[in-house]
């Protein structure tokens, strides 16, 4: 059996983000931020600083877009992604 994720991780699909900022506002760790560049829809997408996500999932349940945010918790087995 494959080893699970050592750290939780949040993945943001920038192209699906409408820049509403709710995920950034809710994140208890402050690891999400508004990016400078514009995406294909003209929004400043949210981004992950790359460190510090605890996998709490608050951002997932704030985000109105079905597929914009994915949260992988600690222990998640990568192979399942495919």
């Amino acid at each position: 059996m494959a080893e699970g994720l050592k750290k939780a991780r949040v993945v943001i699909r920038e192209d699906e983000c409408k820049g509403c900022g709710l995920c950034i506002a809710i994140c208890p760790e402050g690891v999400l931020f508004e990016q400078k560049h514009l995406n294909r829809m003209g929004y400043h997408p949210a981004g992950y600083r790359g460190e510090g996500c605890t996998g709490c999932g608050f951002c997932f349940y704030q985000c109105p877009e079905p597929g914009a945010i994915t949260v992988y918790k600690k222990g998640y087995v990568e192979e399942e992604v495919a």
Binding site: E16, G21, Y61, P64, P66, T70, Y72, K73, Y76
Partner: protein
């Protein structure tokens, strides 16, 4: 606990809504609909009920929900989602039926629909998204708009003197006996959002367990129409909306209700026939009469006093013609009086499909009193037929481009001992003259529209007399 939070399987991968971007919803940034969609989709995934779930989209911003949810979908007329859900659930009790509605849809135009569905205790799940405004149409006042709240139709703020008070749906419905579970939640911070998630799952579980009607009201932000940023809008829900619409469980009988057995409510045809006193054996009778060409698509107007059996005459014709293989329609029109007023009905008898039951240019007018003849003879198509009762109408018709058949129907009926069968004398004259039906076709149909069986022989006699009058005078 799942090790990942991923887009639910109950969503389509690609939304085939329009050209262009197909992987994002049409909702505005920060809209509550998307979050509630996610919570519902996640629950459907987790409960394994996606395949048997049917979501009714309303009119409003969430009108396009069917582009996103990979389930059975129907989009209902404004406010009618609970009625549509009722129909679907009763025909498919094994399915999970979700009525998804906004506040304009549910609380305004659909106010009575939700009230009656809740009162019947339909075993459905209703998600009621309340953002205190009409979103899709651009921010008009809704029944739920707060006092003082500015909308495009309340530019000075909602004033109770003019517009009344915000409607509290959960409180209203909780007074009813039938609903099982009613809760108001809010899509705001993480804690409240997790309560929404729990409520969504409970409302669905109740339906799966056949417990009855569940409604979850979800207070939700509309940043676009409130003219706020999404973050400000969430705060506005906390600071204002929740004050007017307190969160909490307004009714919960979940633990007390015993699951009702899901049974299809099917009325047996024989059982209904017995109740309505309709003969069990429906004899199919094919007319052998050669159709007169000019009466191939017959449009009748039958008129007279109320009490003359005008409507029954039309109904009898339609019934007999239907059993003889014609397409028919029968449209009654009458005043509130049982006797003495005027009555008329429109009847179509056709070998072709009938577009409208309404007859505005009749090919046949049957007039059983003078006002009816005066009123309707001008409408008859040239070459058509005016059939009238000469016992009651002493004037002659004025039209000379139509066929005219007068018969002293009431007198003949009186001679048979009952003036009230004048309508069947007319029936006899009509079928003898037009050959659209033969005698046997009408006799076969008699038990279907004459309730008192002992009167059938007399009616038969009246039909024969009417026929004889026409045949002997030709």
């Amino acid at each position: 606990m799942a090790k990942a939070l991923i887009k639910a399987d109950s969503f389509y991968e690609i939304y085939e809504r329009k050209d262009g971007i197909k992987d994002v919803t049409h909702y505005c940034p920060g809209c509550g609909h998307g979050v509630l969609h996610k919570l519902i989709a996640e629950a459907l995934d987790d409960f394994g009920i996606r395949e048997k779930s049917i979501l009714i989209s309303p009119v409003g911003c969430s009108v396009f929900a069917y582009y996103y949810f990979r389930l059975g979908n129907i989009q209902a007329a404004h406010g009618r989602a609970p009625a549509v859900a009722t129909g679907i659930k009763r025909v498919h009790p094994e399915s999970v039926v979700i009525s998804y509605q906004g506040d304009g849809d549910l609380a305004a135009i659909g106010g009575n629909n939700i009230l009656q569905a809740a009162n019947r205790g339909e075993n459905i799940t209703v998600f009621f998204v309340n953002n205190a405004i009409y979103g899709m149409t651009g921010g008009q006042m809704a029944p739920t708009t707060l006092i003082g709240q500015k909308t495009t139709t309340t530019p000075y703020g909602r004033n109770v003197v003019n517009e009344g008070y915000p409607v509290r749906v959960c409180e209203l419905l909780a007074t009813l006996d039938a609903p099982v579970y009613i809760e108001r939640v809010a899509l705001t911070d993480a804690k409240n959002t997790s309560k929404v998630r729990r409520a969504v799952r409970k409302a669905l579980q109740n339906q799966i367990d056949n417990k009855g009607f569940s409604l979850v009201e979800v207070l939700s932000a509309c940043p676009s129409n409130w003219k706020m940023t999404p973050v400000q809008a969430k705060q506005w829900v906390e600071d204002n909306l929740i004050k007017q619409f307190p969160l909490g469980v307004y009714k919960d009988l979940t633990d007390q209700i015993k699951p009702k057995k899901a049974e299809k409510q099917v009325f047996s045809v024989d059982g209904l026939k017995e109740k309505l006193n309709i003969p069990m054996e429906e004899e199919k009778y094919s007319t052998s009469v050669k159709e007169a060409k000019e009466f191939r698509n017959m449009k009748l107007k039958i008129a007279g006093f109320g009490g003359q059996g005008i409507l029954l005459l039309g109904l009898g014709m339609a019934q007999a013609a239907m059993q003889a293989g014609y397409n028919v329609s029968w449209l009654p029109s009458y005043g509130p009086e049982m006797r003495g007023g005027t009555a008329n009905c429109h009847v179509n008898i056709s070998k072709e499909r009938i577009g409208s039951p309404l007859v505005s240019k009749p090919t046949v007018v049957i007039a059983m009193n003078l006002p009816s003849m005066e009123k309707f003879q001008s409408e008859i198509e040239p070459g058509g037929l005016l059939l009238y009762d000469t016992s009651l109408i002493t004037q002659k018709p004025v039209r000379d481009d139509i066929k005219v058949l007068g018969i002293p129907a009431t007198q003949i009926a009186d001679n048979l001992g009952n003036t009230r069968i004048a309508n069947m004398v007319i029936m006899g004259a009509f079928i003898a003259y037009t050959s659209v039906l033969d005698k046997q076709a009408v006799i076969n149909a008699l038990p279907f529209f004459i309730k008192r069986k002992n009167l059938i022989p007399l009616n038969e006699k009246a039909i024969v007399e009417g026929m004889n009058y026409v045949l002997s005078s030709n």
